[in-house]
């Protein structure tokens, strides 16, 4: 068990991602953040704070539960639904930044794209993740990455956040090669 990132690393990574979002979109006027439960929604809240301190504007932030859009419903027990919350003003025509903790197979993001499309048609969809651990099974990539962590398939990456787990850290479980 190895701690890869500590609390200060996480806040630095989020600050950098916030700057990249502003740079890439030339401002935050049209940005909407959508966090994917469980931990993505809290990361989205933190990105919102960072964006606010950079630009002074409160970026609309929502929650997007993807449970009903998963492709493993037939092979895994159903999960409890999480809250979905669209920000006031919706996402139609906005530049949506999806926020999640770990990017792995890409299947969660595929489901998130379907879920977004159910509500309306954003102008663009971008992806911000705290950790990219590789092993994609779909042609999906992140626009903003906190940290690239090469892993083996036997390992699992755990993101702990204050809001859920009582501390900020990222660790790798299982054997390192």
């Amino acid at each position: 068990m190895a701690h890869i990132l500590e609390s200060s690393d996480i806040s630095r990574a989020l600050k950098r991602i916030a700057h990249e979002i502003v740079e890439h979109n030339q401002g935050v006027e049209n940005i909407v953040l959508m966090g994917i439960p469980t931990r993505g929604r809290y990361l989205a809240d933190r990105l919102q704070e960072n964006l606010e301190s950079i630009s002074g504007a409160a970026v609309p932030t929502g929650i997007l539960d993807i449970t009903l859009y998963r492709d493993d419903y037939r092979i895994r027990p159903p999960k409890a639904l999480e809250k979905t919350l669209l920000p006031d003003g919706g996402i139609e025509g906005r530049d949506v930044v999806l926020v999640d903790d770990v990017l792995y197979s890409g299947r969660t993001i595929r489901a998130a794209l379907d879920a977004l499309g159910e509500f309306s048609r954003p102008k663009s969809v971008q992806l911000a993740v705290l950790v990219d651990r590789g092993h994609r099974e779909l042609p999906i990539r992140a626009d903003y990455v906190g940290k690239n962590i090469p892993t083996s398939l036997k390992e699992s990456v755990r993101v702990h956040l204050m809001e859920v787990d009582g501390e900020d850290s990222i660790e790798i479980l299982g054997e390192r090669q």
Binding site: P37, Y69, P77, L81, T84, D114, E118
Partner: protein
């Protein structure tokens, strides 16, 4: 795959899980997600040996909103009228690849027979079997109550302190039995009110109290659920005349006025207006009859979602 045959199949947590799933589904629907892809490729059969309007339409609508394919089967106009047995019908459905069978049948225990017989592999959902149970009706009633009194975010027995009266033809009512089991599981204090002829023997074993008078404690109840007089199941005369029944056990505007200001009125439908419920009461402001119908679709979506996922028996909705 698993079944929902009786409220007793559900633990408190599972029941709450279904109610909360229904609440999330409602928010999704209001947010604009009218159709969800979750059950794409699933075939769901509505196997209805008894007439039904809202339950069948409700299940059909729930399945379709989750993108399942729905086959409606009613005994009238099918091979059942040529004498086909439940077994042969079930095996036909199995051969057609049904993932779930929603069965309504006039005989108590028909759903359990279908589920335990080994005739089919599909999940079996009881949509009313004789005078035994109608679990999804109880779940939608509980959801309606929980929403109205804003109790869904509480933990454990969310209905503690709530007084519920179930009034009318308790003897023939599967709705009453399922509701008694579920509402007491959720902590409510339930009273069955009926004339002695329509009160089942041993009703105390359901964990409820009973009363022969509607007026006795009418001002105390938070929820009054009126049941339909089921003339089609009555082989005897249980009360002298319909007028007398309506006078003593019917909900009219005078009784409505005696109820708590905050109390709500439920009826599983179809209503016999003028018999167990007067027209003014049915359309009164605190009548939740139409909310029950729209909540029915959400609760049945939640039931289908919870039962059909996963490769094998699913014990409960796993916390993410």
């Amino acid at each position: 795959m698993s079944n929902l045959l009786s409220i007793n199949d559900l633990t408190l947590d599972q029941a709450l899980g279904i109610l909360r799933t229904a609440a999330e589904l409602e928010k999704l629907t209001e947010g604009g997600a009218k159709k969800l892809p979750t059950l794409r490729g699933f075939t769901i059969v509505n196997l209805f040996y008894e007439d039904s309007t809202r339950t069948r339409i409700s299940f059909e609508s729930a399945a379709k909103r989750l993108s399942a394919d729905v086959i409606n089967f009613s005994a009238k106009g099918s091979s059942v009228s040529k004498g086909e047995s439940l077994k042969d019908t079930a095996q036909t459905l199995q051969a057609m690849g049904a993932d779930a069978v929603i069965i309504r049948h006039g005989s108590s225990g028909a759903a359990a027979r279908l589920a335990s017989s080994g005739w089919i592999k599909a999940s079996v959902i009881n949509a009313g079997d004789g005078t035994h149970e109608h679990p999804t009706q109880a779940l939608l009633d509980a959801f309606t109550i929980a929403k109205r009194f804003n109790l869904l975010n509480n933990e454990g027995q969310i209905f503690v302190g709530l007084k519920v009266a179930i009034v009318g033809d308790i003897l023939h009512s599967r709705v009453a039995r399922s509701n008694a089991l579920l509402l007491t599981k959720l902590g409510a204090e339930v009273t069955m009110i009926a004339p002695p002829t329509l009160m089942p023997v041993g009703v105390a074993a359901w964990g409820v109290s009973s009363d022969y008078s509607l007026d006795n404690r009418l001002a105390e109840y938070d929820v009054v659920m009126m049941l339909r007089i089921q003339s089609e199941r009555m082989t005897d005369s249980y009360f002298p005349t319909e007028r007398e029944y309506a006078r003593r056990y019917g909900l009219n505007s005078e009784r409505l006025g005696k109820m708590k200001e905050s109390a709500i009125l439920l009826h599983p439908g179809p209503m016999n207006r003028g018999l167990e419920i007067s027209a003014e009461s049915a359309d009164a402001e605190n009548s939740m009859v139409l909310e029950q119908v729209s909540n029915g679709v959400l609760v049945r979506m939640a039931v289908l979602y919870t039962l059909l996922g996963g490769p094998t028996m699913v014990d409960e909705v796993v916390k993410a």
